[in-house]
Symmetry: C2
Subunit: 162 residues, 2 copies
Amino acid sequence: MQIRLMNDADRPALWSVIEEAVRRGETLAVPMDASSDEAIDWWTSGKEAVFLAEIDGQVAGSYYLKPNQAGNASHIANAGYVVGESGRGRGIATALCTHSLAEARRRGYLAMQFNFVVETNEVAVRLWRKLGFEILATIPRAFRHPARGMVGAHVMWQSLER
Amino acid sequence: MQIRLMNDADRPALWSVIEEAVRRGETLAVPMDASSDEAIDWWTSGKEAVFLAEIDGQVAGSYYLKPNQAGNASHIANAGYVVGESGRGRGIATALCTHSLAEARRRGYLAMQFNFVVETNEVAVRLWRKLGFEILATIPRAFRHPARGMVGAHVMWQSLER
C-alpha cells in the first residue's frame, strides 16, 4: 500500500472510493444525492492536504487534513477518512489514520479532533479508540441515519504532545 | 434595538464591531493579524444568514447562522456572536442569541451547537448556559490565550425540539 498526495487528475478515482459511502448516507455528513463534483469538492476544498491510499496502483481510500479552527486554535488538526467498498478489511483505514497522525505531528499540530463520528459507525469508533482517540462527547440525535433513525455523533480527540 | 439581515454595504460597520475582538485574540478562532477583509470573510462566507444588531442606527453586534454539518446532519444549527466594545453591558448578546434561537427554529433546525467557546470567556459561557445551552465537552488545551496560555474550549448544545 502506498499513501500519497492527491492531485486533480485523481478526482474520478476519489469518487469511485467515496461514491458508495455518499449514497448510503450512513457515515458521512454530506447530502446523499450530491453530484460527484459536489461530493469531491466537499472532501477536498478548504483542506490543507488530501491523501490517497493506493493498492496495486488502484485508489482504495483517502483522508484529508486541516486545522480544525483558525487563529489561536489552529494547533488542533481535523481529519476525515474514507475507504472504498472493495477495500474493506485490508487495514486501509488503520494505515490512513496512522499516516494522518504522523503527518499532523510532522506539520506541528498538537492534537487531532474529529467533530462528527456517527455512533452507529461502530467499526470506525472502535478503530479510532484503538488508535488513541477518546470520546469527548456524544452529540444527541445529531444524524438522521437512513435505517436507524436519529442517532448520536461523537466528538473524538487525542493529544499529539508527548 | 433592531436586529436585521446584513448586506454588503454593512461590511465596514461589521468590522468596527469585530475588530477589537479579532485583535485581542481572546475569544475568536481567527488570526489576530487578519485584515479587515479576511476577518469579515471569515465571519460571513459560507453562512446561511448574517444578522446585525443596531442601536440608534449604529451597528453594535452581529451573529451568523448556518448548518453545523451537511446532509443527514444538517438539522443542527451553528451560530457565532460578537458584540462591539462600546456595546457591552446592554443586553446585546442576549438579544442576538435569543433571536438566533428563534430564527433557527423558524428555519426548521432541531438543535443548536457551538463548536468552540473558549472556557476563559466566562461571561459568554454563563450567558449561553442561562439561555439553555449545556456543555457537552471541553476540548483540552484547545486555545492559545494571549494572556492565559493554553486553555480549553467548550462544545455547547441545546435541543430546539419541544
